[in-house]
């Protein structure tokens, strides 16, 4: 009987990662409190071609979760399967079909960026000249023109990380894990990561990014998970996340913001008005859709003429703030 290899199996799966009630071996202990697992009851289902941003209140939780998913860290309880194959709780092996990025030191300092990418993709059967042209032009197209031929040793650790991500996109691995949540990426690198993620998705590859940057999730990811105190507070699409947690309707700028907010509070009790200097943030906690027209009408009734009213296009940043706020309130 022919034995199915992991690489062959990788072509047939639907669920890339499936986690159910997972708990970690590691514990947190806060002052005077009982020790609690860093991760507990985490459930997650990642499908082929998706790009997930794993976010949370603790860098350590994010790192541990991604290490467990990559099969390099054991876990305590629950179910965890990778490419629809179970993972042994004590196994610590990076599987050949998983491209794990846990350090920027994976690039060689004695090469330039293009040379490194050619070296990393040397096993490809594509004609070398065409391949070099393809990689070179893609570096330019994704916005990395300025570092396309720069020596690797001169790059920042974030730039190196993005170059490794591009290597993952060109590799034969079907699943890449970008586990550098402590890094913050500028707009150029975030844009490059977004284009790399789209390229990977087109090729049917799956990407998991550990990050605490809402902007990165907004720009790069299709799905997100948010872990608060070791528990998954949200898992799903980025769009749903914003819809569910970004309750900010609009921001009103006025010199008499406090007075205006007081009046609006009595007129619109279903909305929340918080004042920060001259800016009123209007939040809608009701089950109903935002009624912008109603708020405008009530502002007109108060007799105030605000200097500026800005509608809020739903953003991951506000959704993250809200989820933290909600969690603290519940606690």
């Amino acid at each position: 009987m022919k034995r199915l290899k992991a690489a062959d199996h990788a072509k047939t799966y639907e669920n890339v990662v499936y986690i159910e009630n997972l708990s970690s071996n590691e514990y947190f202990q806060k002052n005077g409190e009982e020790a609690a697992p860093v991760l507990r009851d985490i459930s997650l289902s990642v499908k082929k071609g998706q790009c997930w941003g794993i976010n949370g209140d603790s860098l350590f939780s994010i790192k541990i979760l991604l290490e467990i998913i990559s099969n390099i860290r054991p876990y305590k309880d629950g179910k965890c399967s990778l490419l629809e194959m179970g993972m042994m709780r004590s196994k610590r092996v990076i599987l050949p079909h998983v491209f794990y990025i846990g350090s920027p030191g994976m690039v060689y300092n004695n090469m330039n960026v293009l040379e490194f990418l050619m070296f990393a993709t040397a096993n490809s059967k594509t004609d070398k000249v065409l391949q070099q042209e393809q990689i070179f032009e893609s570096l330019i197209n994704i916005g990395l023109k300025k570092i396309s031929m720069s020596p690797v040793r001169s790059l920042t650790k974030e730039q190196k990380a993005v170059i490794i991500l591009l290597t993952a996109a060109y590799s034969s691995s079907d699943f890449a894990v970008f586990n550098l949540p402590e890094y913050s990426f500028d707009d150029a690198l975030t844009g490059a990561m977004s284009k790399i993620a789209k390229f990977m998705s087109k090729k049917g590859k799956t990407l998991l990014i550990g990050t605490q940057s809402p902007d990165l999730i907004e720009t790069v990811c299709t799905h997100t998970a948010y872990i608060v105190n070791g528990v998954s507070a949200y898992t799903g699409t980025v769009g749903e996340f914003k819809k569910k947690y970004d309750r900010i309707m609009m921001k009103i700028s006025d010199k008499n913001a406090a007075d205006l907010a007081k009046k609006l509070c009595t007129m619109l009790p279903e909305y929340d008005f918080s004042v920060d200097e001259d800016i009123i943030t209007v939040r809608n906690y009701s089950e109903e859709e935002d009624n912008v027209r109603l708020v405008y009408e009530k502002i007109a009734e108060t007799g105030f003429a605000p200097e500026k009213v800005k509608l809020n296009p739903k953003r991951v940043k506000y959704a993250c703030e809200e989820i933290k706020r909600q969690y603290d309130l519940q606690k």
């Binding site: 000249v129 070179f136 300025k146 570092i147 790059l155």
Partner: protein, 173 residues
């Protein structure tokens, strides 16, 4: 902190030019190589098919001739196996010879080796040692085996009884 050494526009254009040149060079090389490969493969295939066809045809003809009790004949060429020592040492017992039907059986020369039917019906391969012209003007041949112990054949060979003229001996037989 180390300063990033950014890639200049000149470096990018230079790389593009290098890639363009490499593609041009590679493109020609690929085409020539490709043509040569196709030619080589075609020639090999044709040769292989020709050899297979020749062998198959030979086998078929030999089997057909044998089934009819005739001498195998392919395009006028015949194979014979020497069964006696009369032509030794030129043709030893067991040697295989290739012969062909002569265009003009009455124009054979002295020293030609011929295969013929004797008057008693046996098939013999001997050398012509003399051409004899009879009173009625007909050409006849005197034949003899190369073996020194042989004397010349008693019967003169009538050209009509000549079956084939020797061309070559198959090596290692």
């Amino acid at each position: 902190m180390r300063k990033v050494e950014y890639t200049t526009d000149e470096q990018i254009e230079q790389m593009r030019e290098e890639l363009r040149q490499a593609k041009l060079k590679k493109g020609m090389h690929i085409d020539m190589h490709h043509v040569l490969v196709i030619v080589r493969k075609t020639v090999s295939m044709v040769l292989f098919l020709a050899v297979v066809a020749a062998l198959t045809t030979t086998l078929v003809f030999i089997q057909l001739a044998k089934s009819k009790g005739q001498t195998p004949d392919i395009l006028g060429y015949q194979l014979y196996v020497i069964q006696s020592g009369s032509m030794s040492p030129t043709l030893k017992v067991g040697a295989v010879i290739i012969s062909h039907i002569p265009d003009d059986k009455s124009d054979l020369k002295v020293d030609d080796i011929v295969t013929f039917k004797t008057e008693s019906g046996a098939t013999v391969t001997h050398r012509i040692i003399e051409t004899v012209k009879s009173a009625d003007g007909k050409i006849r041949y005197r034949t003899k085996g190369d073996n020194p112990v042989n004397s010349a054949d008693q019967e003169l060979l009538d050209p009509d009884r000549v079956i084939a003229e020797f061309i070559a001996k198959v090596p290692l037989t």
